[in-house]
């Protein structure tokens, strides 16, 4: 775990810079290039990993402001690590502004808006090859509300004490996983058959209310759109610690496959350095599949190309087929074929369409899902 090494790595880095300056050499800060053109994919690894490309920032008159800001914020973050304080990016923006306010010499560093300080924080993470959570900078926990009658979570708190949460005792209230789920230990009270990640938070709620967790020995997660760090790390934890099969159930459209599902399974290009802990390579795509539309006579409808977001999703999907190493890999041929099918037919079908199969049976979607899992109808 790189997190504990942060203070040492930072100190070494600053020391190198200082030595360079003493010798009138230009210090160079190096960070991994986090973009699709530097993303590699191997099915053996299972997630997108960084290539050799680095972004180098050499100290000169133009970059002196950026470097000064980076070292200034690094000092603030190291202090947080030292004292155990945590902050969000927005709070750090105001902390930086506060520092400037109290020391007029720092005035030139002042951030005009949060996007500037956010960029510096991201730069520090890329430079130290760590997560921002390692620097005690947390995003708000979003998505991943989890329901299960079998799962027990043990959280190690910063002071070393442990908190045990039995999800079965929460009733219909969900468990909210953390953005840094590495401090959690999972245990199953009884054998868990599968884990289902539902794209729509609302549909996951409906399933629970209709008794999904009573009837199935399963873990049910609501993803809430593009999976956050919390959802991604949580899925990875379930995969690694419980070794249960994970299925993703969402809409059949380009955005879901290319963005939501790919991010859950293999991480994203923007987070190349953290995909190892924030992706669940064993997750399967359960549906909606084109064959489900046929089999259950589901209502689908054409993609509106006049709609800006839908047109953009199609364009991104076409780009992904060309440039995304995940979709180019042979092992993911079924997924790239599915994307091609979507691009060609320009149709989409929503996950909620399963409710039309038997409108009077609220558990019909659940029945279909369980049947699909049993019969192995997934990608």
């Amino acid at each position: 775990m790189r997190g504990e090494l942060i203070p040492k790595i930072s100190k070494d880095l600053c020391n190198r810079m200082l030595t360079d300056l003493e010798n009138a050499r230009r210090p160079v800060l190096e960070a991994i290039k986090c973009s699709l053109d530097n993303a590699r994919y191997s099915p053996k690894v299972g997630y997108l990993t960084p290539g050799d490309k680095k972004v180098q920032t050499e100290l000169n008159v133009s970059s002196v402001q950026k470097m000064s800001r980076a070292i200034f914020l690094l000092e603030v973050l190291l202090r947080n690590i030292d004292t155990g304080a945590v902050n969000t990016k927005r709070e750090l923006y105001y902390i930086a502004k506060g520092e400037v306010k109290h020391d007029p010499h720092l005035k030139p560093l002042d951030f005009q808006d949060q996007s500037e300080s956010d960029a510096v924080i991201d730069f520090i993470c890329e430079m130290l090859e760590c997560y921002r959570e390692d620097l005690n900078c947390y995003a708000n926990d979003r998505g991943g509300q989890t329901y299960s009658n079998q799962l027990v979570v043990t959280e190690t708190l910063p002071d070393g004490t442990k908190a045990v949460v039995d999800l079965g005792s929460l009733g219909t209230s969900p468990f909210q996983p953390k953005n840094r789920p590495q401090s959690l230990k999972l245990k199953a009270k009884k054998k868990i058959d599968f884990c289902l990640v539902v794209e729509s938070e609302g549909t996951a709620n409906t399933f629970v209310a209709n008794g999904f967790c009573k009837r199935n020995n399963a873990i049910l997660i609501g993803a809430q759109g593009v999976p956050s760090n919390a959802v991604r790390g949580w899925a990875k934890l379930i995969q690694d610690q419980l070794k249960v099969p994970i299925f993703f159930f969402g809409d059949l459209d380009a955005y879901t496959i290319q963005n939501i599902y790919r991010t859950l399974k293999a991480g994203s290009a923007a987070s190349l350095i953290r995909n190892s802990d924030f992706s669940a390579p064993d997750v399967h795509f359960l549906g909606v599949l084109p064959e489900d539309i046929k089999k259950y006579d589901l209502s689908d409808y054409p993609v509106k190309e006049s709609d800006v977001s839908e047109a953009r999703a199609l364009k991104k999907a076409a780009d992904a087929l060309k440039n995304d190493p995940f979709f180019q890999d042979k092992r993911n041929k079924q997924l790239s074929k599915l994307l091609e099918w979507l691009l060609k037919n320009k149709r989409r079908c929503e996950q909620q369409a399963f409710f039309m199969v038997d409108p009077r049976d609220p558990t019909m979607p659940e029945k279909i899902i369980v049947e699909k899992i049993k019969k192995g109808i997934y990608l």
């Binding site: 300056l21 960029a119 730069f123 923007a270």
Partner: protein, 611 residues
């Protein structure tokens, strides 16, 4: 058989019902068009007689208009031109299509003889009075004032109330319209924009104007050279249609084809006639009299001529303002910081001679007013030295400006749009045959050839300008670098030393090292500035770009001034010397690009979506 009787109506009747087609589509446009027609006529008349024009314009509200939401407005324009004989007055002001310029192929402002008669009609329709004209020619002993009305039924002017009149100069013409309208002073369709634009492309004009709620303004001439409008050349056969071609032959009486072709057209020689014969024209026809040639033969001759390559039409019939006069005139736009002017050689676009001139200037007063720096540049369009003020987006000139990559010259520009900044781009196009999109002459039709010619001129002006802008950017760069070194060096070293808990000794050494590193960058920046400075000075020495120093060289060149303070003509300034305002000793420096912006840009590009 049609139930209703078919009647014919006069041209005046048609225009009186369709005044919107000739610039009277709204009360605001009515005022501007009336003023424009009167001023255009004055300038054309002065040019014909080679008189240096001095025009006074007075516009005032005199009450409420009869139409909804309008005022009754008096527009008075007086010139020192040759004046009109009383016989010509009703024709000029009261008769449509009565013109001395129609179809002559010259670069005069007016062409058809519609505008001023339309203004009289508008006055007659809205205030029940025509136009009051006061005229005095050199041969008249006394100026005469008459009322002219349009006899709409018969397309004729009618004179009324003839009496003795008064004019400021020994000869000239004064017109006074009382019309319903609304006054708009500023903005694209504003009266001030029109008057300043007119002054810009007519360096030889002295203009006095008094507008409502404004002080009297005098724009003195900056050139004493009266532009001579070159005579028209004969038409080029490739620009004609068959009907026109045949009709053209009727103007020459009994003359053989060979002589007619040589005399009646430009660019046809004995050689080209031999070429026509070679390309299939009947040899017998060459010596036949044109009045004996049948229509079908004309058709054959016409198609052979069109098939044969001829020399492009002559460009002698177009005129230009000239870089020197235009440069002087640009300074009348306001407080100009620097500018470049390009006059291209006349060329042929769509078989018609065209001359394009461009001035790009940066204005100091635009920089000062807030928000202007981020707005699009001000575009001044001129066709035959008349400002065009409406329907900007469809105009060939705007299309050409948008097609140029101004970013290369240091002007920010959103994609496919006008560049941004406190600049004025003035484009003047002169041609005896300008293709307008409408009868009110507001937009130039954008043919590919014309847009390309305009584009080339703009590019040339942009290139000239860029030398100075680049120098400014380098200056800015150096200034930023100096500031950065001063500000960030101590912070960076302090932070590094605190994190590494380094002793003061290391801190001192690191500070020295850092200063050394950044000093190297600085000397590079200094070198770049020096190079840019040489390039800019070189451009200025060659007259490609003109930079206005903070202190004007001579007050006479300062440009537009209000009588009460910065009066241009020394005489007038003495009259009201007490009201002189203190001038700021130094004009503000060039527009500075905030460095934070650049930094934000670079950091934004780095920003990753926080999942």
């Amino acid at each position: 058989m049609a139930k209703d009787k078919i009647t014919s109506s006069s041209t005046a009747e048609y225009f009186s019902k369709n005044l919107q087609q000739v610039g009277f589509s709204s009360p605001t446009k009515a005022v501007l068009t009336t003023l424009k027609e009167a001023v255009d006529n004055s300038l054309d008349a002065c040019e014909e007689e080679e008189i240096l024009p001095e025009i006074s314009v007075q516009i005032e509200k005199v009450g409420a208009g009869t139409l909804k939401n309008t005022d009754l407005i008096r527009i008075k324009v007086e010139d020192n031109g040759p004046g009109l004989s009383l016989d010509d007055v009703p024709k000029v002001f009261g008769e449509y299509l009565a013109s001395s310029k129609f179809g002559r192929g010259r670069c005069s402002r007016g062409q058809q003889g519609i505008g001023i008669s339309a203004a009289t009609t508008w006055a007659q329709l809205t205030s029940a009075k025509g136009v009051t004209v006061t005229t005095k020619t050199k041969s008249m002993r006394q100026a005469v004032q008459v009322q002219v009305a349009v006899d709409i039924k018969h397309n004729k002017g009618v004179l009324k109330d003839k009496k003795e009149g008064k004019l400021k100069s020994g000869h000239g013409l004064s017109v006074e319209f009382l019309i319903d309208g609304r006054i708009q002073l500023q903005g694209e369709g504003g009266l001030i924009t029109y008057l300043n634009g007119t002054a810009l492309v007519n360096p030889h004009l002295t203009l006095h104007y008094l507008l409502p709620e404004q002080k009297q303004v005098t724009v003195p001439r900056v050139s004493t050279e009266c532009p001579s409008v070159p005579p028209a050349t004969e038409p080029h056969p490739h620009t004609m249609k068959l009907g026109e071609f045949i009709a053209h032959s009727h103007l020459f009486g009994r003359i053989n084809l060979k002589a007619w072709l040589k005399k009646g057209f430009s660019r046809i020689s004995d050689n080209s006639i031999a070429e026509f014969v070679k390309n299939g024209m009947d040899k017998k026809l060459v010596d036949t009299s044109v009045d004996k040639i049948s229509e079908s033969h004309f058709k054959d001759i016409f198609s052979v001529i069109h098939k044969t390559e001829l020399m492009a039409p002559s460009t002698k019939s177009v005129m230009t303002i000239g870089e020197e006069s235009f440069s002087k005139s640009v300074r009348r736009l306001g407080e100009v910081d620097f500018f470049s002017v390009v006059t291209r050689k006349p060329t042929i676009c769509d078989y018609k001679p065209v001359a394009v001139e461009v001035a790009v200037a940066r204005l100091k007063n635009l920089q000062k007013s807030e928000g202007q720096e981020d707005g699009p540049v001000q575009v001044l369009r001129f066709a035959n030295r008349v400002p065009l003020q409406f329907d900007k987006s469809a105009c060939a000139i705007v299309k050409a400006i948008e097609s140029v990559n101004w970013r290369a010259y240091g002007l920010p520009q959103p994609k496919d749009s006008l560049p941004v900044g406190p600049y004025v781009i003035a484009v003047s196009m002169v041609s005896p045959f300008i293709k307008f999109k409408n009868a009110s002459k507001e937009t130039i039709d954008a043919s590919d050839e014309l847009v390309e010619e305009l584009r080339r001129t703009l590019i040339q002006a942009g290139q000239r300008l860029s030398r100075h802008i680049k120098k400014e950017h380098r200056e800015q760069d150096l200034e930023n670098k100096l500031r950065y070194i001063e500000q960030f060096c101590p912070i960076l070293v302090d932070c590094l030393c605190r994190i590494t808990e380094a002793p003061d000794k290391r801190k001192k050494k690191a500070t020295e090292g850092l200063e050394k590193i950044l000093g190297r960058d600085l000397s590079v920046a200094k070198k770049e500035l020096k190079e840019a400075d040489i390039a800019a000075k070189d451009a200025a020495a060659k007259g490609k770009i003109q930079i206005i120093k903070d202190e004007p060289e001579s007050p006479a060149e300062e440009g537009i001034a209000e009588d009460s303070d910065e009066v241009v003509e020394p005489k007038e300034s003495k009259e009201k010397g007490g009201a002189k305002k203190a001038k700021s000793p130094k004009a503000p420096k060039a527009a500075k690009k905030p460095t934070a912006k650049a930094a934000a840009k670079s950091s934004a590009s780095k920003e990753k979506s926080a999942s």
